[in-house]
Amino acid sequence: MAGSWSRFNIVSLTLGFAFLYLPIVLLVIYSFNESRLVTVWGGFSTRWYGEMFNNRALMSAAWVTARVGFLSATVATVLGTMAAVALTRYSNFRGRLLFSGMAVAPLVMPEVITGLSLLLLFVAIGLDRGFVTVTLAHITFSMCYVAVVVQSRLVSFDRSLEEAAMDLGATPARAFFQVTLPVIAPAVIAGWMLAFTLSLDDLVIARFTSGPGATTLPMRIYSQVRLGVTPEINAISTVLIGIVTFGVITASIFNKRREWRNRQLP
């Protein structure tokens, strides 16, 4: 098998990953550029990071995004996990087909449609656009991602463990929280992280459903990008990329360790 690791494969991997990473790497390098002209190298400097922290509009947008992300990811994780349990455990209840359809549809729905439809709902019920509406919108689409992630873990879960717990006298709720949840916890955590990232990342739906006073970071970045490339945006992008990279790598190391530890058990 090792012989099939051919030159062609190495070349296609190198080119493929170069395409995926070169733009990000260049963005990070140029965030340390002294010059205001983003594409002309004027020497190394961390000046734009300082300017970024002094940019109050940018910082307050970052704070809004952090709050929306934290809140929406947490609620979405609870709802998404419930949806996953409902869809894997209960094979027939009224409207199951509609439910399972709705749980997957937002994943492929164009964002402009989701954004527009939620906005029109909020207008119809007279809810003022702002922090609450953008959080509700983010919960709605990210809970579906959580449901998919948790569902894939639940499917392979051995239900006899839970039944054993109940035979030993645990209530269904207790069996779930003490037996099932610890087993599916990695998927639930991954779901939370995914939901948080999606919220952090979303521009289109936030632009439709957010209002004055609740400008999120992507909205702020977008309006600044439309005016042109600025080194400050490179700086904040680098910070975000750093956070995400750190999170993903830590999570995967954590998972690897866990797998390794589980393998050590008899």
């Binding site: 098998m1 690791w5 493929g16 260049l26 527009l116 029109l120 521009l203 439709f208």
Partner: protein, 303 residues
């Protein structure tokens, strides 16, 4: 005690997320549909009629009788919208093919890599997906600009003596879409190729197939589910894409996501924006339903 608790619990587990999705996913579509049948008005909200249930059934019925398909005729009568739909489909289709051409060798190379490397490679494909979409598109502006890094590099090499105009053209849109959706193409392809039994390819070669023929007759057909899933995951969101055409595309590029956006935010024409959304949904219903079928089948076969 617990026998009594179970039905209540299961009801909560089912109905809380169900009702949430009904209220915030399904109901909004009916509202979009309703507004697509309304007329634009200078008011807040900017459409007529508005249904007011407090004024009794007769008033509601009168409002309903004012609904019309005018917005749909308007959309169909204006070549601008038709062109936007067609060019969105074309751009999405071309981008999907390009993503497949780039993603396939990448996914294939990953499955042939030493096993110890594979999980790292897989993480490297997923990592950009976690990184902000907006930032990744933004990174390309600095590269593709006339005085950007790509042109500087090519001028330095002496390959060109005039900067290439790439930003604000369709080429830039293709680059942007392929770049941002590539992980969606690679992951299903990788999943399909990894499951494959390579002794089949060896058998084909032993029986006299050239490597290329063995690939075409054995590997590719076996990876077809991955090809289809990946293509759908790229094509469907690409049709309604807004950020890429807005930041990388030019004024002459029409894409329906951008048209909807400007109809809503610039023209403040909510009814026409709603009609555009409903028509976009109708175009995407076939691939979406097809995709869900395929996914459901794949999940069942896993169980």
């Amino acid at each position: 005690m617990r026998r009594h608790l179970a039905p209540i619990l299961s009801r909560i587990v089912i109905w809380v997320p169900y009702l949430w999705l009904l209220a915030l996913f399904l109901v909004p579509f009916f509202i979009v549909f309703k507004i697509s049948l309304s007329q634009t008005a200078i008011a807040m909200p900017p459409y007529l009629p508005t249904i007011d249930f407090s004024e009794g059934w007769a008033a509601v019925r009168e409002s309903v009788s004012e609904f019309s398909l005018d917005n749909y005729f308007w959309v169909f009568g204006d070549p601008l919208y038709i062109n936007a739909y067609l060019s969105s489909l074309k751009i999405a289709a071309v981008s999907t093919v390009l993503a497949l051409l780039i993603g396939y060798p990448l996914a294939y190379g990953m499955t042939r890599a030493p096993e110890s490397l594979r999980s790292i490679l897989l993480m490297m494909v997923i990592l950009p997906f976690w990184t902000s979409f907006l930032i990744r598109i933004y990174a390309w502006i600095g590269i593709l600009k006339p005085e950007g890094l790509l042109n500087q590099f090519l001028l330095f090499l002496g390959v060109i003596d005039q900067p290439l105009i790439i930003l604000n053209t369709n080429t830039a849109i293709y680059i942007g879409i392929v770049y941002s959706y590539l992980p969606f193409m690679v992951l299903p392809l990788y999943a399909a190729l990894e499951k494959m039994d390579y002794s089949l390819v060896e058998a084909a070669q032993d029986l006299g197939c050239t490597p290329l023929m063995a690939f075409w007759k054995v590997t590719f057909p076996l990876s077809l589910p991955g090809v289809l899933a990946g293509s759908m995951l790229v094509f469907i969101p690409a049709v309604g894409e807004f950020v890429v055409p807005d930041l990388l595309g030019g004024s002459e590029t029409l894409m329906i996501g951008k048209t909807l956006w400007s109809e809503f935010f610039a023209n403040r024409d909510w009814p026409v924006a709603s009609a555009v959304a409903i028509l976009l949904l109708l175009i995407l219903v076939v691939p979406i339903v097809y995709f869900q079928r395929v996914q459901a089948k794949a999940r069942e076969s896993e169980v």
